[in-house]
C-alpha cells in the first residue's frame, strides 16, 4: 500500500482557512525572529511576501494534513465515519485484527448426516469446506468431537453430542465451526469435510454463518475493534456481551442477566445476606424448524404415550405432533412437560430453554367413538407398547454451542454460575393493524408486512417493542393514520405448558404419578400492543406452588409468523 500523503491528507491551500494561514504565518515569523531578529518578515517586505507567506500557506496545509492523519488513527473518529484515507485505515485496523484475529472469526453450525446410528469421532484436525473457505471445529473442551449414537449418555468436560433420528433412516448431529469466511455461507449450503467419517452422507450449514470480520464500512469495523479491544471476558454484563458478540457473530441478540436483576431467580442469599454470583446468558440466533421421529412408550395407567424430546439445538417451540405419519394430534390431546434435570443449578422455570431443561411429550391415546385405538402401535424389544410420532419443532442452534463454550474451563468466570438460555418468547397469536388512507393512495401492505415481521422477529435486548416502528412502516406503506394495533399474545415460560419439580416422579417410568405433580405456570395473555413489554415475577417464590417464572426487558423475545400479521382499513374521518 502506498500512502499518498499529498493527495489524500494535505488539502489545497485555498481550502485552508484564513485564520489558520494567519496563525501559521505569525508562528513562523516568531520562530524566525528568535533566530534572525533583523530579518524583515513583515507583510510588504520582500522576504515576507515572496518567501514567508507562501511557506506559511504550505505549512498550514501540512498541519491540516497531519490533523487528518491523526484523525485516522483515532478509532472514535473512524467509527463515526470520519475517514480520510480508506486504504490506510484498512491496513491500520488489520493490526488489531491480527491481535484479535481468533476472536473475529466467522462462526456457524454444520449438520453431519449419517445413514447409521453409531458413535463417530471427529478429530481436532477435521476441516469443513464451503467453497474457498475452510472452517475448523469449535472446541470448547480439549480433544475432538464425539458424535454419540442416539440415546447414549453424554460426558461433561468433553466435546460430545448425540445423534438425532431424522426418521427417514438417517441420523444427524449439529457441530459448531469457526473460520475465515470470504463468501457468505447460507443455511442448507453443502460442505465438504476432511477426513470423511464413515457412513457420512451429507454435510450442510444449519444457519446463515455470521461474519466475524464483516464486509461492512470501515466505521463499523472500527467500532467493533474499539469494543473488542477493551473487553474479552465473562466477568461483568458489558464485557460478557462483547465477548459473545466477538466469539459468536451469528447471534442476533444477547443479554447477560446478573444476580440482583428482577428476572434472575436462580440466585440465593447466604446467612450473611450476600447473594451468590449467578449469570443467565440469554441469547438468540435464527431459529430453525426441523422434524424428528420419536418413539413414545404407552402408559396403560394414564392411557397416554410419553417420550423425552431430545434435539440437536435448543428446543424452543413445538409446532405439530403427528401420528400414523400424516395425522396431526389435536392440541388438546397432547401436552409438553418441562422439568429441570439440575434442581440445584436451575429449578423449575429457571431451567427453561437451557440445556438443564428436559421436555417430555405426553400424547393421549386417541380413540374413536367405539373406544378403539386410533394411533397405530407396535412393541419394542422389551415388549412395551410404543407409537411412532413425528414432531415438528423450532430450535435455536446456537444455545448449546454457546453453552458448551461458556462452561469450558478456559472461559467460565471464577465464582460465577453461568447458565445459557434462549430468550423467553412472547408468542403473538394475532397482530392486526387498523389504518386509514387517503383516497387514491395505493397501499404496499406486503412490504409493510415484511418490515413488521423482520422488526418483531429481530427484537431482543436492549431493543424492546415499540408501536412507533409499526406506525413508521404503515406510513411508508401509504397509510395516513394508524388507528390501532390489536394484539393477542401469550408468554411461553417453558417449551412445555406444565412444569415438574426436579424431585418429582420420572414421567417415563411413572407417568401417572408425575401427571399429578405437575405445576402450571401463570398464564399471561397480552390483550394489546401496550402489553408487549410484560414485566412479571412469580409472586409465589418460596411457596410450595412456586414456578419461578419471570419475564422482563432483559430476557424477552417475540415469536410471530408472518401470516399472522393482518391489516384492516378503516374509513378516514
Amino acid at each position: 500500500m502506498t500512502t499518498e500523503i499529498i493527495s489524500t491528507y494535505i488539502p489545497a491551500i485555498q481550502d485552508v482557512s484564513d485564520e489558520q494561514l494567519l496563525s501559521t504565518r505569525q508562528r513562523l515569523s516568531s520562530i524566525l525572529a528568535a533566530a534572525y531578529p533583523d530579518l524583515d518578515t513583515r507583510p510588504n517586505s520582500t522576504f515576507g511576501d515572496l518567501h514567508l507567506s507562501p511557506l506559511a500557506a504550505l505549512v498550514a496545509a501540512i498541519e491540516v494534513g497531519m490533523q487528518r492523519f491523526m484523525s485516522d488513527l483515532d478509532l472514535e473518529n473512524v467509527s463515526n465515519g470520519i475517514i480520510w484515507n480508506c486504504p490506510f485505515v484498512t491496513q491500520y485496523l488489520k493490526n488489531f485484527a491480527v491481535y484479535n484475529r481468533d476472536t473475529l472469526q466467522s462462526s456457524g453450525v454444520v449438520r453431519l448426516t449419517f445413514n447409521e446410528d453409531n458413535t463417530y469421532f471427529l478429530d481436532r484436525s477435521t476441516k469443513i469446506g464451503f467453497g474457498p473457505d475452510v472452517f475448523d471445529l469449535r472446541m470448547p473442551h480439549s480433544g475432538g468431537w464425539f458424535l454419540r449414537a442416539v440415546g447414549l449418555p453424554l460426558s461433561s468436560g468433553v466435546n460430545n453430542v448425540n445423534l438425532v433420528d431424522a426418521g427417514d433412516g438417517t441420523y444427524y448431529a449439529d457441530v459448531p465451526v469457526i473460520g475465515a469466511m470470504t463468501e457468505q455461507v447460507e443455511a442448507s449450503d453443502s460442505a465438504t469435510i476432511s477426513p470423511v467419517p464413515e457412513e457420512l452422507i451429507a454435510v450442510e450449514a444449519v444457519l446463515d454463518f455470521g461474519f466475524g470480520t464483516p464486509p461492512e464500512s470501515l466505521s463499523k469495523l472500527a467500532e467493533k475493534t474499539r469494543q473488542t479491544i477493551y473487553s474479552a471476558s465473562m466477568g461483568a454484563r458489558g464485557p460478557a456481551r462483547r465477548f459473545l458478540e466477538k466469539e459468536f457473530p451469528d447471534i442476533t441478540a444477547s443479554s447477560p442477566v446478573l444476580s440482583g436483576d428482577s428476572v434472575m431467580l436462580r440466585d440465593s442469599v447466604n446467612a450473611l445476606g450476600i447473594a451468590d454470583g449467578r449469570m443467565d446468558v440469554y441469547l438468540k440466533s435464527p431459529w430453525r424448524t426441523d422434524t424428528q421421529v420419536v418413539t413414545a412408550v404407552y402408559d396403560d395407567v394414564s392411557d397416554k404415550f410419553v417420550t423425552k424430546l431430545e434435539v440437536s439445538g435448543q428446543l424452543m417451540m413445538v409446532d405439530d405432533v403427528k401420528y400414523n405419519a400424516d395425522d396431526s394430534v389435536p392440541n388438546s390431546n397432547y401436552q409438553l412437560i418441562s422439568r429441570s434435570k439440575d434442581g440445584v443449578k436451575a429449578k423449575l422455570c429457571t431451567a427453561a430453554y437451557s440445556n438443564r431443561e428436559e421436555v417430555f411429550l405426553v400424547v393421549d391415546m386417541i380413540r374413536d367413538e367405539d373406544g378403539n385405538e386410533v394411533i397405530s402401535t407396535d412393541h419394542d424389544v422389551d415388549g412395551n407398547k410404543i407409537a411412532t410420532l413425528s414432531v415438528t419443532f423450532r430450535q435455536d442452534p446456537m444455545v448449546p454451542v454457546v453453552s458448551s463454550t461458556l462452561e469450558s474451563a478456559d472461559v467460565s468466570p471464577v465464582g460465577v454460575d453461568v447458565l445459557t438460555k434462549g430468550f423467553v418468547p412472547v408468542v403473538i397469536q394475532s397482530f392486526n393493524v387498523r389504518y386509514s388512507r387517503r383516497p387514491g393512495v395505493t397501499m404496499t401492505l406486503d412490504k409493510a408486512r415484511d418490515e413488521i415481521f423482520q422488526y418483531i422477529q429481530g427484537l431482543g435486548h436492549p431493543y424492546t417493542y415499540s408501536d412507533a416502528k409499526i406506525i413508521d412502516s404503515m406510513f411508508y406503506a401509504g397509510a395516513s393514520e394508524v388507528v390501532g394495533i390489536d394484539v393477542v399474545a401469550k408468554v411461553k415460560w417453558t417449551v412445555g405448558n406444565k412444569v415438574l419439580p426436579s424431585d418429582s416422579s420420572d414421567p417415563i417410568t411413572n407417568l401417572s404419578t408425575a401427571l399429578t405433580e405437575v405445576l402450571t405456570p401463570p398464564a399471561i395473555t397480552i390483550p394489546n400492543s401496550a402489553g408487549l413489554k410484560p414485566d412479571f415475577v412469580d409472586p409465589y417464590v418460596g411457596l410450595s406452588n412456586e414456578t419461578l417464572a419471570a419475564i422482563g426487558k432483559r430476557n424477552i423475545c417475540y415469536v410471530l409468523d408472518i401470516d399472522t400479521i393482518e391489516f384492516t382499513e378503516v374509513e378516514e374521518g
Binding site: L21, D38, N44, S45, T46, D49
Partner: protein, 134 residues
C-alpha cells in the same frame, strides 16, 4: 530590520535588487510604499493590507485632482494603520512609521504624481516622490 532592496527608480518599473539591501527606517518606508501600491483585499491573510488608490485609478474614479487627493489621503491613512499593526513590539522608534503624508504633485491624463513623506516615531522624516502611472 533588514531586507532586500526594491528599486523604484527604474524606467521599466520597480524590481528587486538582489545585490542591495535596505535596513532601518528605509526598510519600513519601503514596506509602506509597497503597501500603497498593493490592491486592498488581494491578500486573504491580511484583509486590511493595501490601498484602493491603484484600483480607483484603474476604474476611472480619479476624475480630477480633488478626487485624487481624497484617494491619496485615504491611502496614506490605510498605510499608516497597517504598517503600525505589523510593527513588532521591539521595533525602534526610528523605524516605526507614525504618519504618512501624500500630496498630489501632478495630475496628468495618464499618470498621477504623488509626493509621499513619512514621519517616524522618533520625529525624523523621510520623503519620496513616486510616480504612479495609471
Amino acid at each position: 530590520m533588514q531586507g532586500l532592496k526594491i528599486d523604484f527608480t527604474s524606467d521599466t518599473g520597480p524590481f528587486i535588487d538582489f545585490n542591495k539591501s535596505v535596513s532601518g527606517k528605509d526598510a519600513s518606508v519601503q514596506n509602506a510604499l509597497v503597501n500603497i501600491g498593493t490592491d486592498k483585499g488581494s491578500d486573504r491573510v491580511h484583509p486590511t493590507r493595501g490601498t484602493d488608490l491603484l484600483s480607483k485609478g484603474l476604474r476611472g474614479e480619479l476624475v480630477g485632482r480633488q478626487s485624487a487627493r481624497h484617494a491619496s489621503n485615504f491611502a496614506a491613512l490605510d498605510t499608516r494603520i497597517f504598517c503600525a499593526s505589523q510593527a513588532p513590539d521591539d521595533l525602534p522608534d526610528a523605524e516605526k512609521i507614525q504618519n504618512v503624508f501624500m500630496t498630489v504633485t501632478n495630475f496628468g491624463s495618464r499618470s498621477l504624481d504623488l509626493s509621499v513623506s513619512f514621519q517616524m516615531a522618533d520625529g525624523s522624516t523621510l520623503g519620496v516622490t513616486p510616480t504612479l502611472t495609471i
